[in-house]
């Protein structure tokens, strides 16, 4: 189905807007995701309070919040089921945005 989308672009073929009734996630999936999001948030806060984890706090937090980010984008925003166009439209800018954050904090000497 994804390849059909990609093909749509390549051939410039016309696809009617509603021709793609995606098999999107069901309401049950949405609730499960919400639960996971809640749990991850709880974990994050817990990690924050556990002294012993202080040295690895930042990597753990990045991992956890990155997972939350990905879950919302993939399921709630439907990107997992959408075609390459939308994925590119989001991931391209996201890449540049993250790169710029990293570059700036590196320039300010927080990385090296």
């Amino acid at each position: 189905m994804t390849s059909e989308k990609a093909l749509g672009i390549e051939s410039g073929g016309v696809v009617a807007a509603h021709a793609h009734e995606e098999p999107h996630a069901s309401n049950r999936t949405y609730v499960v995701i919400a639960l996971v999001l809640g749990v991850l948030t709880a974990l994050e806060v817990m990690v924050f309070y556990v002294e012993a984890l202080a040295p690895v706090l930042v990597p753990i937090l990045i991992l956890l919040s990155g997972t939350k980010f990905a879950l919302v984008v993939a399921f709630y925003m439907h990107l997992k089921f959408d075609g390459n166009v939308l994925r590119g439209l989001f991931l391209g800018p996201l890449f540049i945005a993250v790169a710029i954050i990293v570059a700036l904090i590196a320039l300010y000497g927080y990385l090296l």
Binding site: A34, E44, V45, V72, V73, F75
Partner: protein, 190 residues
């Protein structure tokens, strides 16, 4: 419905492109916040003021509003009028609670002497979270407008793309908060 080359409705593509642009907007804010971390010359400092438990609650509220948002969309797509109404309103209300929480937080900070121009922390904190709060507020107004449409029965499955687009915006704002919550609040100590 117009035909499009990609099969994606124009409105939806517009919103995704806009979200791409917003990534850069928030990236600039976050980068500024991070580069200015620990550079305040006078207090109060983040660790003196940030109330993690309180913000955890409002964060949770915002996360759950994303759930109600997808449920609203799915209701609209199914033509479930009652579900649409309930979930749209619920999402907006959760958004209002979040913004209310932010207002409480801001006024608490102000009471502690952390005005906008107090130090670098306050400058970056208020602008970053303020930009986000403004986005949530716009989202709330948008959702309430859609809710009024459903109340008048003018939001059937045929115009579900309107809700879908609003939902994309709403989730994106939520996603930004996921990052801000981590960066501003949970990484404040390190």
């Amino acid at each position: 419905m117009e035909r499009t080359n990609t099969g994606v409705p124009n409105e939806k593509m517009l919103m995704w492109a806009f979200i791409g642009s917003e990534c850069m907007l928030f990236a600039s804010l976050i980068a500024t916040y991070l580069t200015y971390r620990g550079r305040s010359l006078v207090g109060p400092y983040p660790e003196d003021l940030l109330n993690i438990p309180f913000i955890t609650v409002t964060t949770f509220v915002l996360l759950m509003s994303s759930l109600t948002m997808v449920l609203a969309l799915s209701a609209v797509q199914r033509g479930d009028a009652r579900g649409s109404r309930v979930f749209l309103l619920l999402t907006a209300v959760l958004g209002i609670i979040f913004v209310g929480g932010q207002a409480i937080e801001f006024s608490h900070f102000a009471g502690e002497g952390l005005g906008l121009s107090r130090n670098l922390f306050s400058s970056t904190f208020f602008l970053t979270t303020g930009f986000h709060g403004a986005h949530v507020t716009v989202g709330v107004i948008w959702l309430l407008s859609l809710w009024v449409l459903t109340m008048r029965g003018r939001l059937g499955p045929e115009s579900s793309v309107k809700v879908e687009v609003a939902g994309l915006y709403w989730h994106f704002v939520d996603v930004v908060w996921i990052v801000l919550f981590t960066v501003i609040y949970l990484m404040s100590g390190s």
